[in-house]
Structures are given as structure tokens and as C-alpha cells.
């Protein structure tokens, strides 16, 4: 372990230090200047992003640089996700600005917690040992519980935090049990050692149980059926920007872990676990989409939609091939931006009322905010997977990967369910364009405008010229794919 190793840890160190500084500022008299917190946070994100990009130079030419006794690795895969996380947190910061100003909750601690969550996410993306992954995941989860309950004088927020907390800790107990069994069978928690141990092993009940429990714990984090129960309640109850964060950043981090663990550690038992995950994916797509149809609350609808998207993304893990992994990366990115754009529009509509952003609020939006309405349509089409938006590209990769891997039936379910999903995405389009109504008042602040514009740009760019991101994704995932091929 040298100084060079420590440099690889720089992004995380910066984020942690920055988060701590944000925590101290109010004590030093910054409490009154709550509006400064946003800028401090954005600056921190910028520096972190630079550090992440800088760390790519440290690993240039090398596929993976495990450091700290194989606890932590910087590779193209982790850099991809870390950059995504930083952008998500920065955008969530922008989303939060106006929302926070409506209430008297402290802003500094809020952003500090977001930065800590970012730390946890980055450790998750870089962890190559179950220990690092677990502790990063808990850091993220704990920050999320607190953030979900941040509006502590609102009953819904606290209730959401309580539900999220209890179910989250229970699920992490399940995950831990799985880890302990895997440890017992393989004798190690390092992913590469596990893979090596498994490659010479026959199927084994305890191991399968361990893998399944681990998968169950991760499925909870990505909100896949039947471990999704918390999602709608928490998304509705939590402060809206936090719901945005939970549905994008937190999920993306869980997917980074899911992909790395399953692609690196468990390829040897692909045949055994893929069927279980296939069932989970199919259920997620079906239940998520069908339940979303009858919802009238947009936040709840988005929660169910996010459940279904977890199902689509799982296809990439089930397929266990090059395209699948690329699909996960692309789809995560695409989904994150489309979702953030939608959340921005929701935040724009009404910030006073806590929950109950109903579909009616969107009525006639195209007259009051044509740009927002137009971008909303693009985001919804992207989520629905309609070309030439980004969502289509992502879905194409995932579905084709499933077909390639012999999961044709799953691809068919996915296609049917994306068709069904248009039912409820369309309701918003209908409300915005084809219905007259005053709807809710709109306050379209520059921050929200920026988030919308950025998400729109990404969604369209990935849709129209996907080669660029795809090349990046191939670079980011090739070393994990390499392992698959070697198997």
C-alpha cells in the first residue's frame, strides 16, 4: 500500500472530507446562509468528478487496479458508475434547492448526507470484496433512511423513513446471512477468490441458498418484485428530491454491485441462479407495470414504473453476456436521466403540497410550460422504450441480450410489458397535451430548467447518436466481460 494507492482513493476521500466540511459549516456560523449550501455542494461534486476522471489516468492501460489488499479497485467499470453517481447527486442537489427553501429544515446537513451517500455509492461501485460492498451499501442505506425522514415534522416523511428503515435492515440481515453462507462455502469474501473457488465446485444447496439470499438483499435495493413492497410508500412519503435520488442514484449503485458480484463471482453457477432471477425479473415487469396502471398519484406511479425498470435491467444480469452487461450500463444511465427529468417536472409543478402530485396537476401543461411538457414527453417515451429516444437503445441491448442468452420468453414478456407501460405513461401525455385545465401552478426555476435540459440532452443524444456512449460503455465493461468469456 503506497501513496499511489491512496491517490486511487482520492475521489472517495474528497467526497468524505467535503461531506464533513459541509457538516461543520453551520456550526461555524453558516446556518444563516443556507442558500450557500447548494453552491458548496455543487463545487464539491465538481471536484469529486475531476478526481474521478483523474483516477482514470492512474489506471490507464491497466484493466483493474485492486488496491488495499483487494478490498477496493479502480477500473473503468467503477469510474463509469462513479461519474454517473456524481452527476446524479449534483442534479439531485439542483432539484432540492427550491424544495428545501419551502421549509425550514437545515440545508447543510441535508447536502452533507447526500455527499455521504455518494461516498457509500462510490465504495459500492469500487468494492471487490463483499466486506467493502456491504459497508458501502450500509453507508448509502443509512444516509437514505435519514434523508427519507428528513422532513421530520411531516408524518409521511417519518413514516416513510420508518418503513424504509425496518424493511431495509431486515433485508440487509437477509443479505448478510447470504454472505455468511457464501463465505463458509468459498472461504473468502473477495470476489475473485470466490469465483476461483466456485469454478471447481459442484452445485451445493448451502451455496445456492447463499447466492439467493444475497440476490434477495440486492433485489430489495433495486426494488424488484417481490422485494419491492417498500418502494411505493417510501417514494410517496419521502421528500420529493429524495424520492428522485432513491429511484435513480441508489438504484444505480445497487445495479453496479449486482452486476459486479454476479459477473465476477458467480458466473460458474449461472445456470442455477439465472432461472430464479428470470422469475424475479418477469414478476417485476408484470407487477410493476400492471400496478402502475391504476395509480393516480404520479409519485406512486413512478415508483411502480421504477419497479418494472428494475425488471428490465435484470435481463442484463440474467443474460450473462457481453451485450447484457453493456445493456445494464446503458440502461442504468438512460433510465437515470429520464427519471430525473420527470422528477424535475414534478417538482416544478407544486412544491408546497407534500404528497399527491396527481395526474390532474399535469393538465394542460403544454400551454403553461411548453418546454417542460415537451421534455416530459421525451422522457416518458424514453421510459417506454420508443425510438429514437435513449430508452429504446437501452431496451434493445437488454432484450437482445436476453434473446441471445436463450431467454426468448423473457424478452417477449419484456416487450409486452413495455407496450403495457405506455398505458400509464400516456396518461400523463394525455393530461399535458389533450386535456384542458388549470392544473397546478408552475414555478420553473433555473435549476429545474437546467436539470430538465441536461436530462433531455442526454436522452436525445443517446437516442440519436448512441455510438458514442456505447463505445464508452464497452470500454467500461470489457474487463468484466473478459471474465465471462474466460469462464
Amino acid at each position: 500500500m503506497t501513496w499511489a494507492d491512496t491517490l486511487l482513493l482520492l475521489p472517495e476521500l474528497i467526497a468524505a472530507t467535503g461531506a464533513s466540511i459541509l457538516l461543520i459549516v453551520p456550526v461555524l456560523g453558516g446556518r444563516a446562509r443556507g442558500h450557500m449550501a447548494k453552491w458548496a455542494m455543487l463545487a464539491l461534486m465538481a471536484v469529486t468528478a475531476l478526481a474521478v476522471i483523474g483516477s482514470t489516468y492512474a489506471v490507464a492501460g491497466v484493466q483493474q487496479t485492486p488496491t488495499f489488499r483487494a478490498m477496493f479497485a479502480v477500473d473503468a467499470f467503477s469510474v463509469f458508475f462513479k461519474l454517473l453517481f456524481v452527476v446524479v447527486i449534483a442534479l439531485v442537489t439542483l432539484l432540492s434547492e427550491d424544495f428545501l427553501s419551502e421549509e425550514r429544515y437545515s440545508t447543510w446537513e441535508y447536502y452533507s448526507l447526500l455527499a455521504f451517500a455518494l461516498c457509500g455509492m462510490m465504495f459500492m461501485a469500487s468494492g471487490v470484496s463483499l466486506i467493502t460492498i456491504y459497508i458501502g451499501l450500509e453507508l448509502l442505506a443509512l444516509s437514505s433512511y435519514i434523508l427519507a425522514g428528513y422532513y421530520k415534522n411531516h408524518e409521511e416523511s417519518t413514516e416513510a423513513a420508518m418503513k424504509y428503515f425496518i424493511l431495509g435492515t431486515v433485508s440487509s440481515a437477509i443479505l448478510l446471512y447470504g454472505i455468511s453462507l457464501i463465505y463458509g462455502v468459498c472461504g473468502s469474501m473477495r470476489l475473485s477468490t470466490i469465483a476461483a473457488a466456485l469454478s471447481t465446485m459442484l452445485s451445493n444447496d448451502a451455496l445456492m441458498f447463499g447466492i439467493m439470499l444475497l440476490a434477495a438483499g440486492l433485489c430489495f435495493k433495486i426494488a424488484a418484485v417481490p422485494f419491492h413492497v417498500w418502494t411505493p410508500d417510501v417514494y410517496v412519503g419521502a421528500p420529493t428530491p429524495i424520492s428522485a435520488f432513491l429511484s435513480t442514484g441508489s438504484k444505480a449503485a445497487a445495479f453496479a454491485v449486482f452486476a459486479r458480484v454476479f459477473y465476477v463471482a458467480f458466473p460458474a453457477f449461472h445456470l442455477d441462479w439465472s432461472n430464479v432471477l428470470a422469475a424475479i425479473a418477469a414478476l417485476s415487469m408484470i407487477v410493476g407495470n400492471l400496478a402502475a396502471i391504476t395509480q393516480t398519484n404520479v409519485k406512486r406511479m413512478l415508483a411502480y414504473s421504477s419497479i418494472s425498470h428494475a425488471g428490465y435491467s435484470l435481463l442484463g444480469i440474467i443474460a450473462m453476456n457481453e451485450m447484457g452487461l453493456r445493456g445494464i450500463l446503458i440502461y442504468t444511465m438512460v433510465y437515470v436521466f429520464a427519471n430525473l427529468g420527470i422528477w424535475a417536472t414534478i417538482l416544478m409543478l407544486r412544491r408546497h403540497a407534500y404528497a399527491g402530485e396527481s395526474v390532474e396537476d399535469f393538465r394542460g401543461l403544454h400551454k403553461r410550460a411548453p418546454f417542460a411538457a415537451f421534455s416530459m414527453v421525451v422522457f416518458l417515451l424514453s421510459l417506454g422504450g420508443i425510438p429514437p429516444t435513449a430508452g429504446f437503445i437501452g431496451k434493445y441491448f437488454l432484450f437482445a441480450a436476453a434473446v441471445q442468452a436463450g431467454f426468448g420468453w423473457l424478452a417477449i414478456v419484456a416487450v409486452v410489458m413495455s407496450a403495457v407501460s405506455m398505458f400509464y405513461y400516456l396518461r400523463l401525455v394525455v393530461a399535458m397535451y389533450l386535456e384542458e385545465g388549470s392544473g397546478a401552478e408552475t414555478i420553473y426555476s433555473p435549476s429545474l430548467r437546467f436539470v430538465t435540459a441536461l436530462s433531455l440532452t442526454v436522452t436525445l443524444v443517446v437516442g440519436f447518436i448512441p455510438e458514442l456512449p456505447i463505445r464508452q460503455v464497452i470500454e467500461s465493461s470489457s474487463h468484466l466481460v473478459g471474465r465471462v468469456v474466460q469462464r
Binding site: F68, Y105, A206
Partner: protein, 227 residues
């Protein structure tokens, strides 16, 4: 005599294990959370004993210190603070108890059926593995040409379980260790943020509703008694 010494650990295991299971059941079965907390404490202590039996002295100590000393106090403190008169578990078994029992039994069967016959990694036969660590050392090597150079090498050294863990924690597991410190910081911040009573400047003088309620209730009671 040998047979007796050999069976002592088994005896301890049976006794301690039974107490652990029994008290854990009582944690669930007790109506009053204070009782539950005390039985939880007992469970924790038993588990600590098991840890020591498994050669994890340090973890056993941490278990006692953190769980028994820290977490339990926290629980008891909160139970006292809230001091709920009408305990929510009037009927201990909720309407879902059948579902709970069935699922619980199913999980148990699963655990027994899958975990017990599992094929695990081969047994380690070095009894000192858990108490030894590697140390870096240098030694002189006389080169063929007569000069001496100092070469680094690592060797296994038997220390104690605590020292071995310490070495591992700060050397092999430095990254997770640091993340854990972040975790504790967040936990502290979070507990304060959420648990602290007043938030805004304006709220400071206002007692929360439950205090007001309780004061009114007690006043009422006093009046009733004096009457």
C-alpha cells in the same frame, strides 16, 4: 477424565445455546419492551460466550461492550423516554400470526434443510490460525560477492487474537474500516437530526403534543385522586 474434559465445551454449548434460544424467544414473547430488552441482553451475553468458544475472544469482548454496553442502554433509554402507557401489543399475537408462524416455520425448515447439509470449505487444522499474524521483517543476506544486503520478508507470528485482528483491521481491511467510521459519523448526525426535538428557532418554546397530553393527563389523575 479426558472424556469429561472433552465434553465440557459441548456441555457449555448446550447450556448457553439453550439459554440464548430461550431468552430470544422471550424477547419476542414479552409484552413489555423493558423485559424484552433485558432478555435481549441475556441473548447477547450468551452469544458472546459462544464467540469466545469459537476462538473469537476479541469479537466476544466487542459484543459485550457494544451490544450490552451501548445498544442495550440505548434501547432501554428510548423505552423509558417514550414510556408508553398503552402498549401496542395488547394482544401479543396480531391477526397475521398464522402467516408469521407459517413463514417462520418455513424459513426454519429451509435453513435446516439447506444450511446443515451444505458442503463447506475444508476445515482448517491449524489451531493457531486465528491468533497469528504476518509481520514484516528484514534480515541480512550475505551475497556471493561478500557484500550484505537487507532483504524484506514476511513471516507468520503467533500473537493473540486481539492483536491479530488489530493487524488485519488496520492493514488488510483499512478501507472498510474507514468507511465504517464514516458510517458511524452519519449515524450520529442522523440520530441527532431526527431525534432532536426542536428544529426551527420558533419551535423552541413549544412543548410537543405528547408532553402536553401527558401533563394534562397527569393533572387530571391528580385531581381525580384528590377528589
Amino acid at each position: 477424565m479426558d472424556a469429561l474434559t472433552a465434553s465440557i465445551p459441548l456441555l457449555v454449548f448446550v447450556v448457553v445455546g439453550t439459554i440464548a434460544v430461550a431468552s430470544s424467544i422471550l424477547v419476542v414473547a414479552m409484552r413489555n419492551p423493558v423485559n424484552s430488552a433485558l432478555f435481549l441482553l441475556l441473548t447477547f451475553l450468551c452469544v458472546a460466550v459462544l464467540f469466545v468458544m469459537e476462538g473469537a475472544e476479541f469479537v466476544g469482548a466487542v459484543q459485550v461492550l457494544v451490544y450490552a454496553g451501548g445498544i442495550m442502554v440505548l434501547f432501554l433509554f428510548v423505552v423509558m423516554l417514550i414510556n408508553v402507557r398503552a402498549l401496542p401489543d395488547d394482544r401479543i399475537l396480531s391477526p397475521y400470526w398464522t402467516g408469521g408462524a407459517v413463514v417462520g416455520a418455513a424459513v426454519f425448515v429451509l435453513l435446516v434443510a439447506l444450511v446443515r447439509p451444505g458442503v463447506y470449505h475444508e476445515q482448517n487444522d491449524n489451531p493457531l490460525a486465528l491468533r497469528s499474524t504476518t509481520v514484516n521483517a528484514r534480515h541480512r543476506v550475505v551475497q556471493p560477492d561478500g557484500t550484505t544486503v537487507r532483504k524484506r520478508y514476511t513471516r507468520q507470528q503467533v500473537v493473540g487474537n486481539s492483536e491479530a485482528i488489530g493487524m488485519a483491521l488496520y492493514r488488510d481491511y483499512l478501507v472498510p474500516f474507514e468507511v465504517a467510521s464514516l458510517f458511524l459519523l452519519v449515524a450520529m448526525v442522523g440520530a441527532i437530526l431526527i431525534g432532536k426535538r426542536e428544529l426551527g428557532i420558533d419551535d423552541e418554546d413549544v412543548d410537543p403534543q405528547y408532553i402536553v397530553d401527558r401533563v394534562a393527563e397527569e393533572k387530571e389523575m391528580k385531581e381525580a385522586m384528590s377528589a
